[in-house]
């Protein structure tokens, strides 16, 4: 990866972030009614409206308002939540760790298991186990995450009692230390597995295709011809097959965050999903705008990291 490529790719982040902020600004200003109502809610008093008006410069000309707004948001000031009465950034930040834990666990599961299953399917291409894996992957890819979550809750939580139905920890007992972590992990199992399912399906399919393609190349034939065991040939093939998977994980960041939000609402996981749901019910626009910007930022960051990882893994990529 050349420094030139790195700089060029980093510079692309600026217009993307600016574009997202312009969209948020335009949405607030084209909505019916005074934008101050959108940003401060319908039940504020005159002094609060005046405060918000001054804070976001709502009494100035539109282009100036846009600049004030961008300046505010870039410095981390997303306004106040109508419902919580606190800064949006603080409300969002306190829900973030639970969601990150969920997404991180799910991605770790889907990547490791998906690559393993994909290799298995490729080595048994055309046999019943391959067909079963591919059918399973297609089904998992088609199921809405919230439905899979409900089915898991019915079968594995309510039905068997193996896993807790809802929450982050057991409300009846207060654990500390490693018992606490075990309790959280127990609550994490179902939401993480459900969120992993759709990504797992995709990783399995991609790995299978990639390994099959790599096994048909000349270098794989050479490796076989010089007498390498099939195991080692697959390992060589896998290195090249994994490149597209890196790209796909990055391009699916938005879908993963969306899936996490929906799965959280089913399992009452105390992350951004719960916050989104309660903010939707109270029409808490500043929080919803904050979540939109956070989701956008995570997609932009994921794309950036993907491109950089790809350039690092594949030295042929450079700024032309």
């Amino acid at each position: 990866m050349t420094p030139r490529y790195l700089l060029w790719r980093l510079a692309q982040v600026v217009p993307a972030v600016a574009g997202i902020l312009v969209i948020a600004f335009v949405a607030v200003h084209t909505a019916p009614g005074d934008p101050v109502l959108a940003l401060a809610g319908e039940h504020g008093d005159a002094a609060y409206y005046a405060f918000i008006r001054a804070k976001f410069g709502l009494d100035r000309p539109l282009p100036e308002q846009l600049l004030v707004y961008i300046g505010r948001v870039v410095s981390g000031d997303l306004g106040l939540s109508f419902v919580h009465g606190r800064p949006v950034a603080a409300v969002v930040a306190e829900r973030l760790p639970a969601t990150l834990l969920l997404i991180g666990t799910a991605l770790a599961l889907s990547t490791t298991i998906g690559v393993a299953l994909g290799v298995l399917a490729a080595r048994r291409a055309g046999r019943p186990s391959d067909l079963a894996l591919r059918t399973g992957a297609l089904l998992a890819h088609a199921m809405p995450s919230f439905w899979l979550a409900q089915m898991a809750a019915i079968a594995l939580a309510l039905g068997t009692g193996w896993f807790p139905v809802q929450g982050f920890t057991d409300a009846r007992r207060a654990f500390a230390g490693w018992r606490y972590m075990l309790d959280v992990a127990h609550h994490l199992v179902l939401p993480a597995l459900v969120l992993a399912a759709a990504e797992l399906a995709l990783t399995t399919r991609l790995t299978r295709t990639g390994v099959l393609e790599a096994l048909a190349t000349d270098y794989a034939r050479t490796a076989r011809a010089k007498g390498l065991p099939e195991r080692s040939v697959v390992r060589h093939a896998l290195r090249n097959a994994l490149l597209p998977i890196v790209t796909v994980i990055g391009s699916r960041a938005g879908l993963v965050v969306t899936g996490a939000v929906l799965v959280e609402t089913v399992f009452a996981w105390p992350g951004l999903g719960q916050l989104l749901l309660s903010s939707v019910q109270t029409r808490d626009v500043p929080v919803l705008l904050g979540l939109f910007m956070l989701a956008s930022l995570s997609v932009i960051t994921a794309n950036l990291l993907t491109d950089l990882a790809y350039a690092w893994l594949d030295p042929r990529i450079r700024y032309e």
Partner: protein
């Protein structure tokens, strides 16, 4: 050759792969349910007609919900909402995507650069969260939902059409058409687009599947159009009764999964048909 126009004349070939046959069947079933919903289930899907939360029976094949509404009737009417949103969003996205892609592929240089930068940007927008903001600001309604999803769902289509256009404009038959005096518009519409469209259909059908999931997710968190029955709304309502009434949760989600599966399989089958190099089912 990828992007052969012959693909349109060989739809019977899709039946030869099990995936293609199932995909076509499921998609046609969704369309039939949506178009015939008033004939198949003449009752008002919101009407309370039986004992609340009664399990599946001969009279109510999928049971009833907490307000005594027939779940089967609700699902049949929900198909109409899903298909309406998916078809409208897809039509809007295809219109923009094909236009942008064809123009970018045909006008190499600054027009292409600008259009592709815009495409890359729109690809970054998280559609679900934008739709949440728009509905929270403008109120629930199917029109704004279609608009916001349609305006953000076209980049994948534009990219495919652009790539196809780029490879087609340098072909000899296009040169021949130009030499005979065809205008740019005629070259694009008559010679380039017919070749660029079949691969775009793959992306379009997979896109439609994604839109069904998005609409269901939005209705699931309570942002659907309250005047229309939808599968996501049913799943949201089922959330409170998981312990006592499994049927309220199972059937609406299954309907979503089958529709999405159908469109995905259809896309895969089209892709296999157009790209013989892709790994085929054995």
């Amino acid at each position: 050759m990828r992007g052969s126009i012959r693909a349109f004349g060989t739809s019977d070939m899709m039946w030869r792969t099990p995936g293609g046959a199932v995909g076509l069947f499921l998609t046609l079933a969704l369309i039939a349910l949506a178009l015939l919903s008033n004939t198949l289930a003449p009752a008002d899907p919101f009407a309370s007609i039986a004992q609340p939360l009664s399990p599946p029976s001969r009279a109510h094949a999928f049971g009833t919900d907490d307000l005594g509404r027939d779940v089967l009737t609700a699902i049949i009417h929900g198909a109409r909402t899903s298909l309406l949103v998916a078809a409208s969003v897809t039509a809007l996205a295809a219109l923009i995507g094909i236009g942008v892609g064809a123009l970018a592929g045909y006008r190499v240089g600054i027009v292409d650069d600008v259009l592709m930068r815009v495409t890359d940007f729109v690809l970054v927008i998280p559609r679900f969260f934008l739709a949440v903001v728009v509905i929270a600001l403008f109120g629930a309604g199917i029109d704004r939902l279609i608009l916001v999803l349609g305006l953000t769902s076209w980049p994948a289509i534009a990219r495919v059409v652009r790539a196809q256009t780029l490879s087609l404009v340098s072909r000899e038959f296009v040169d021949a058409a130009r030499a005979l005096g065809a205008t740019d518009t005629r070259v694009l519409l008559r010679y380039v687009l017919p070749g660029a469209l079949p691969p775009a259909l793959v992306v379009i059908s997979i896109n439609a599947a994604g839109v069904i999931l998005l609409e269901a997710g939005l209705s699931f968190i309570g942002l659907g159009d309250p005047s229309r029955m939808s599968w996501g709304y049913l799943a949201n309502n089922a959330q409170r009764f998981l312990r006592v009434a499994w049927w309220v949760a199972v059937f609406p989600g299954a309907a979503i999964a089958l529709s999405v599966l159908g469109l995905n399989l259809l896309g895969d089958a089209l892709n296999d048909l157009l790209d013989p190099r892709a790994p085929r089912p054995t």
